[in-house]
């Protein structure tokens, strides 16, 4: 470039094909495709010597080695790339299979999950029923505290009692309790002692034991049941008749009051050590 400018400034205009500036890069490259050295060498040709001929052969051999090497290298690379590609494809397929498997597992687990939660809901309903039943049994057996409407019957010795007959005896209380059960009482207590299937009402000297606890008169029997029907139905029972006689003939105090709410305590649940439910007997 500098050379070309230099020549245009100083010397006579150079022939167009020698000037890169006027030819342009493409033209220059085309015009000088053949190394100028060949022409220079041809002008001062000393003729091929033996050694230089051999150098040509070596250069040509090197050229072919170069080409072969490049070709093998490329093909080798291509083979390696193909291998890599196949490897990657294999990996992708394996991963995809793993993903498919995992997805199938997810579906399966989801199905199991929904089934289990349905079971859970079902069990909840079941357990709700069981709880209801447990509560009922607790009320019936007396191990659960209960409340409800009912009647309160207060009995006492006859005023100025002198004979044993004029006092309230265990048999009198037993008659009263049994009559009330018969009349439809659902839960009962005497002076705060809950009456259960295992309650014993017994005479202990001048006092009466209920649940092996000494009670003192007056005896207040709280019975939960229909307050409207309980007294009349009690009057019809054997116990009711007995107490009518005791009240009217002997003079024992007998007072019936209806209550809208009675609170009965729980009985101590006895520990079962030997008794087991009979097979198929549970209902």
């Amino acid at each position: 470039m500098v050379d070309a400018k230099h020549s245009t400034l100083q010397g006579p205009p150079a022939p167009p094909r020698d000037s890169a500036a006027t030819l342009g890069l493409l033209g220059y490259v085309t015009a000088h495709a053949l190394d100028d050295d060949y022409r220079e060498a041809a002008r001062t040709r000393p003729g091929p010597t033996r050694s230089s001929r051999w150098l040509t052969v070596i250069a040509l051999a090197a050229f072919m080695v170069l080409i072969i090497t490049a070709a093998t290298q490329t093909s080798r690379n291509a083979v390696a790339e193909a291998h890599e590609r196949a490897d990657l494809v294999k990996q992708v397929k394996a991963r995809r299979a793993a993903v498919d498997k995992a997805q199938a597992r997810i579906l399966r687990l989801r199905a199991t999950n929904s089934r289990l939660s349905a079971d859970l809901v079902h069990n909840d309903k079941l357990s709700a029923g069981t709880r209801q039943r447990l509560g009922d049994l607790g009320v019936l057996s007396g191990v659960a505290a209960v409340h409800g409407p009912g009647v309160e019957i207060t009995v006492d010795d006859a005023p100025g009692a002198t004979t044993e007959r004029q006092t309230v005896l265990d048999v009198d209380l037993q008659a009263l309790v049994n009559g009330l059960w018969q009349a439809g009482a659902e839960a009962m207590s005497i002076n705060g002692q809950r009456i259960t299937g295992m309650t014993a009402i017994s005479q202990a000297g001048s006092a009466i034991d209920v649940n092996y606890t000494n009670l003192s008169r007056p005896y207040v029997v709280s019975a939960i049941g229909d307050p409207a029907r309980l007294p009349t139905r009690f009057a019809d029972t054997v116990g009711g008749q007995t107490w009518l006689d005791l009240h009217q003939q002997v003079g024992l105090a007998f007072d019936v009051r209806t209550r809208t709410r009675l609170d009965l305590p729980a009985a101590t649940a006895p520990a079962l050590r030997s008794a087991e439910p009979a097979k198929g007997g549970a209902s």
Partner: protein
Amino acid sequence: MIAVLGMVLGVVLGLVFKPDVPLWMEPYLPIAVVAAMDAVFGALRAYFDGLFSDKVFVVSFISNVVIAALIVFIGDKLGVGAQLSTGVVVVLGIRIFTNVAAIRRHLFHA
């Protein structure tokens, strides 16, 4: 005749030894091949022009290969290796085409 002998020798050598190209040389090999092709076709054209010189051929061959590889090497170091190798390939490609066209004119007179 002796040139064909050299080429056959080269092919045989290349196939027999299968030289392993070091990794750092790999990017320069294609450019070196193109540069060598330029030198070889230039020599062939000079031969048909009656200007062939063994010395010029050998010198141009070696310098072409070395300079082409060097340009790409420096380009790589400068971060413009791809662009420079494209330039080298374009220039050498044009030269090859021109020389092959001259050879064709000599062979077929067309």
